[in-house]
């Protein structure tokens, strides 16, 4: 039962993944707009022309990387926003989650932070799209909270955007941090989130 997807298609996927991983590696020390097609294929161990079997251009590859970096993160969002516990516990857990994610996928995080305002328009658009989705998801999560009673949809979206921006800024800070500084960054991020949640509590009236 069930074909294991075909020997042929499987091998294609392996090459595609090799290209994506090689690119991600190279992007540790440069921006996407300077990433060369040959450079990528060389690092992936395939011929330059093989690239065209998978992507039209490096910009196209970048869009695929956005999907890989952010696409699988959506389930996590709603689950985290509507977690149990008091405000302090929820803040600590959210920051812990960010820290772990940055530790486990530093290249993906770096890529997103770098290309969010980078020099390749389609990639910027793809990232903006994913972040807008995150924002709507956080909004939905917040709406379920009893503390959001009386809030307009517009204001909830504003708060969600503030949170998403803050999450990304914290992740970027973790990335740039030298070993041992993570504690300080976590404390600063917690204070920021605490201030925002205080503002949230007194928003009405």
């Amino acid at each position: 039962m069930s074909h294991t997807a075909g020997v042929r298609a499987a091998q294609k996927q392996r090459t595609r993944q090799a290209l994506l991983e090689a690119a991600l590696d190279l992007l540790a020390e440069q921006s996407l707009s300077s990433l060369g097609l040959r450079e990528v294929t060389r690092a992936a161990g395939v011929a330059p022309t093989a690239f065209y079997r998978h992507f039209h251009s490096t910009a196209d590859l970048g869009v695929a990387l956005v999907e890989e970096a952010l696409g699988s993160l959506h389930p996590l969002i709603g689950h985290t926003v509507s977690a149990a516990g008091d405000t302090g516990e929820r803040i600590a857990r959210a920051i812990d989650l960010i820290a772990r994610h940055v530790r486990e996928h530093p290249a993906h995080v770096r890529f997103v932070a770098r290309e969010r305002n980078g020099g390749v328009q389609p990639v910027r658009a793809a990232i903006a799209g994913q972040l807008a989705r995150f924002t709507r998801e956080v909004r939905t999560g917040l709406a379920a909270d009893p503390e959001s009673a009386g809030w307009s949809d517009e204001d909830l979206l504003m708060l969600a955007g503030l949170y998403v921006d803050q999450m990304l800024a914290t992740a970027a800070a973790f990335l740039e941090a030298e070993p041992g500084q993570e504690r300080d960054i976590a404390r600063e991020a917690a204070r920021r989130l605490r201030l925002i949640s205080i503002g949230r509590r007194h928003w009405l009236g």
Copy 2:
């Protein structure tokens, strides 16, 4: 009294400025890490080798651009933070100031937003240094406000950092906005700042 700086040095400065402006133009559609030396000299109308008389590399030129983009902004900061008026008026004035700055110097703003997390380490470091300076200046401005009574220096620095990040995010949003959307972005930014200032008011206790 006073030599007008010498014909020779003056011409050198003109060429240097031509290189910086040509680079800034080219950086509208790419990142610094893909900016070529020859590309810059071609756009500036000088020979490739002339580049070396002014910069060691394009990374070096990038650091100079950071200075040009952010160096002259410091006086403005303290003046804006410690302005008169109630909270709403001060928020509106700050956002207006950002909007005007983005309108008048879009290339500089784009450059900073893009290279803040870009692929060229010395430039990232230069931007981080300038933003840290901004944060300290905002902190000093906030400290003068009677509303900051009882605040620890650490907390003031946290709040200042939050403001600086928010300013940059707003500027970046203005940049990406299509004509006519500026009003909405200004309104969203105002709401964010209002929420933060509410959090500030209730921070203690």
